[in-house]
Symmetry: C2
Subunit: 210 residues, 2 copies
């Protein structure tokens, strides 16, 4: 009938509710935004009591910082997954990669990261707490970009190109206020991505056909 006397170990229970809380925080941040992500809302979403939350996280901010680090690793994994092994020979190839990156950037994990970054701008404590995760994420994204493009452009230009691409996609995500982030890209966005691909490819022409 009900679950058998499950006999989960304490570590399992702990990890389980922590994971539920982190996932619930991601949901609340993407759906309700930073201001409306109250501890009560997170607990309701996670299906645990407030006491449980404050057993594992001393403050709301600690929960948010843990969530930020949680999504940061998932974000860099997603970035690697959409770039690893992708073809970047033709303009069409690069355009396709940019399109996939746009979809990645609109994912809940990335929305969460952005929401927390914005909150950190006007909260010194949160800002310093997020700094190491920020640097780690940037470094790993540079590594992934090097795997993709490293042999095609001077090493000095790689951070600049990455900055152009990810900042443009982030800016796009910020101004995309559609409630459904999987909606069609829209004409000018599609044109902008293709144009960016054209400019990058022609600025760093293919060195050899191998």
């Amino acid at each position: 009938m009900t679950t058998p006397p499950s006999r989960r170990t304490q570590a399992d229970r702990r990890a389980g509710t922590i994971a539920a809380l982190l996932d619930a925080t991601v949901s609340c941040l993407t759906e309700r935004g930073y201001a409306a992500t109250s501890t009560a809302a997170v607990c309701a979403e996670a299906g645990v009591s407030q006491g449980a939350l404050f057993r594992h996280f001393p403050t709301r901010q600690a929960l948010l910082v843990a969530t930020a680090e949680h999504v940061a690793t998932r974000n860099v994994e997603a970035f690697r997954a959409t770039t690893a092994g992708a073809a970047v020979d033709s303009v069409d190839d690069v355009t396709a990669v940019l399109g996939h990156l746009r979809a990645t950037v609109l994912s809940p994990a990335n929305q969460t990261w952005r929401e927390l970054l914005v909150a950190a701008r006007s909260d010194a404590d949160l800002r310093t707490a997020l700094l190491p995760a920020r640097e780690s994420l940037q470094g790993q994204m540079l590594d992934a970009a090097a795997d993709l493009w490293g042999d095609r452009l001077p090493a000095d230009d790689l951070p600049a190109v990455l900055s152009i691409v990810v900042n443009m996609l982030d800016g796009l995500a910020f101004s995309a206020l559609d409630p459904d982030p999987t909606a069609a890209p829209g004409r000018t966005v599609e044109r902008a991505l293709r144009l960016l691909a054209e400019m990058v490819v022609s600025h760093y022409p293919q060195q050899e056909t191998r």
Copy 2:
């Protein structure tokens, strides 16, 4: 000593406190962020009572919407001011324009606009309330861009290039968490702006020297 029995008209008093409230809201949003911009904080900053605020704005959201429209007009004016009459012949010219645009985008008015945009993502009422201002702002920025670049690239590409530039600058502003937004651009940012200028200029070569 003190002000003489000033004899300000009612309309003057009204306009004065409304202006003070809007300016105070801009300050609070840029310094404290959306969540911490309470009606009490705005009133303290403006030097008026809460009763005065709620006489002129029925809700907090009405104040925020009015502030958004207030800064939207100032933003488009600033955009025009930094682009109007600027030279865009050489790569250096375009790089300079991008640098000035970056400074403009980091201004309090633009920070305020961005803060409200982010809040609007997870607040349907605010989102619909900001929609007309958003469209108006986009249209006027397209006009300004046409004055700058219109004769150099096909009309169909203009929105795409504008999207690349402003989204990249907005993304840059979001990830620039320095408390002092007038700080030096940083090496990779400088390199990225110059690179973007190079790519755009070479992709749309000058048609004639006139």
